[in-house]
């Protein structure tokens, strides 16, 4: 069971990286967990497209408002932070 979750989370991380990499026009292998979206050249529109891609890929609803990006709810400060948030959303959905 624990192994399945590990495996599932690896899949989530790979899919989130692929979505972000597509917006940044780079290969997923070029991303690190510390990468920040702005540093990857992803602007506000790119961010909204990333979130749409995540919602479509995982069948979740991401609580994000472009006017209040600092608000707790969905941490977008780095690739790793986004992956962690998506893992939480997916887990909550499965529960």
């Amino acid at each position: 069971m624990g192994l399945d979750i590990m495996h599932g989370n690896d899949l989530i991380a790979e899919r989130v990286k692929a979505i972000i990499a597509e917006q940044a026009l780079i290969e997923p292998s070029e991303l690190t967990l510390q990468s920040r979206l702005a540093d990857l050249g992803i602007d506000s529109l790119g961010l909204v497209e990333c979130i749409f891609g995540i919602e479509e890929a995982f069948g979740v609803s991401v609580p994000f408002n472009a006017n209040t990006p600092d608000q707790p709810g969905f941490d977008i400060s780095s690739v790793g932070a986004i992956i962690a948030e998506v893992e939480k959303l997916v887990a909550r959905q499965a529960a």
Partner: protein, 408 residues
């Protein structure tokens, strides 16, 4: 070469979330009433944004015969109801000669969005293979303009402007220039919008810029824009023409300025709005010190409000913190293509009655704004010159400058 022709407003009408005529709208603006509430459209449970500023209690059948209604999308109905009020106030009698010198320019961003949404539902969701025969004449963006021209027999220059959130200011600016340059003596102008349906809101949700609670322009805890529906229509008239027939003169349309950011399809830019405001003031022959009131674009998004505040500081200089700047979108919502027409009513309230409509829902100053946003309560003030801002998605900016009428 003679003196430049001057343009005055001789009629105003409206149908918007704050009221079904100018007097009711003004009363709501004086009272600082917020018309934002729960949306009532079909499938609202499938929307993540469930608030908006709807026109309450509008019964189309009270205004139009059944046979005619089949040709009128909601945005055209709104424009016609408003145009009737404006034409009645102006007292214009349309002769054969004047009809050729009178036209219509109206703004809209979504046009017949309700018709589009309803008929997509018919063919895609309900699987029908037939739609109503008048879908095209209902949905076209110029439908409202054409219906107003037909109802009043206006045969001069007529067209529709569509520049998203600046549509109505672009329309009124074009109308002003047509009268000023002699292409027409009378122009019926303004704009309308009706996008508060499922498809309209669903599309806006995607951008993640909509508030879930209410609209708080310039407020530290703002969380985005709230959509509204409605519009306003005005009669613009060449000054000598209006004076000759003893028309009621509500204000002078003194200047108009336009610019394009040429930068980003949604993010506002500082330089474009600054240039549009300066162009409007220069066109009016006024310096920034003359501005007594600004009706802000003030959408309540983080991006707009910060950039607009910076732009106002650039244009108004040291006076920026003293000049009252309000966003009436906090009361009537963002009417998108119709919004600057309704905001023109706030400018007329300031110029004619000396009352500045407030920015309501305001709870917390934002240190990045640094403007007198006339929080929550209307204010008496002596206003001679008002400026009305409209900065559209796509970076297309349109600013009008109005002057209180104190005689020729």
């Amino acid at each position: 070469m003679g003196r430049m022709r001057r343009v005055v407003i001789t009629g105003a009408g409206t149908l918007n979330p704050l009221g079904a005529d100018v007097a009711t709208t003004w009363a709501a603006m004086r009272a600082g009433r917020c018309a934002i509430g729960p949306l009532t459209c079909r499938d609202v449970d499938r929307l993540s944004v469930q608030i908006g500023a709807e026109i309450a209690g509008f019964v189309p059948e009270d205004h139009f015969a059944k046979t005619r209604l089949s040709l009128l999308d909601r945005f055209s109905q709104i424009a016609l109801v408003a145009a009737r009020q404006a034409m009645a106030q102006s007292g214009l009698h349309m002769t054969d000669a004047l009809a050729l010198r009178a036209g219509v320019v109206l703004g809209t961003a979504g046009g017949g969005n309700t018709t589009v949404d309803d008929n997509y539902r018919t063919v895609y969701a309900e699987g029908k293979n037939r739609v109503h025969p008048f879908v095209v004449p209902r949905l076209m963006h110029n439908a409202a303009t054409s219906h107003v021209s037909m109802e009043f027999g206006l045969k001069g220059p007529s067209f529709t402007t569509s520049t998203a959130c600046a549509s109505s200011n672009h329309a009124m600016g074009q109308a002003m220039q047509l009268v000023r340059w002699g292409a027409a003596d009378v122009m019926v102008t303004g704009g309308s919008e009706a996008m508060l349906g499922f498809g309209g809101i669903k599309a806006w949700e995607g951008l993640r810029v909509m508030a879930r609670d209410t609209c708080r322009p310039f407020c530290a805890n703002r969380s985005g824009m709230v959509q509204g529906e409605g519009g306003a229509v005005f009669v613009f008239e060449e000054m000598e023409h209006a004076l000759a027939r003893n028309a009621p003169i509500l204000a002078e349309v003194a200047g108009f300025g336009m610019s394009a950011d040429a930068a980003d399809i949604v993010m506002p830019d500082l330089d474009g709005p600054v240039r549009a405001m300066r162009a409007a003031l220069a066109d009016a022959g006024l310096g920034p010190d003359a501005v007594d009131y600004v009706n802000a674009h003030g959408t309540g998004t983080a991006a707009n409000d910060r950039i607009e505040a910076q732009a106002l500081h650039s244009v108004l200089g040291g006076r920026a913190a003293q000049v009252p700047v309000s966003s009436t979108k906090s009361m009537h919502g963002h009417l998108i293509g119709g919004t600057s027409a309704v905001e023109m009513l706030a400018c007329l309230l300031a110029l004619q009655e000396g009352v500045i409509a407030p920015t309501v829902n305001y709870t917390q100053p934002d240190p990045e704004i640094g403007l007198d946003v006339v929080p929550n309560a209307a204010r008496k003030a002596d206003i001679s010159v008002a400026m009305s801002n409209a900065f559209a998605f796509g970076g297309l900016n349109a600013v009008l400058v109005l002057r209180r009428w104190a005689g020729a």
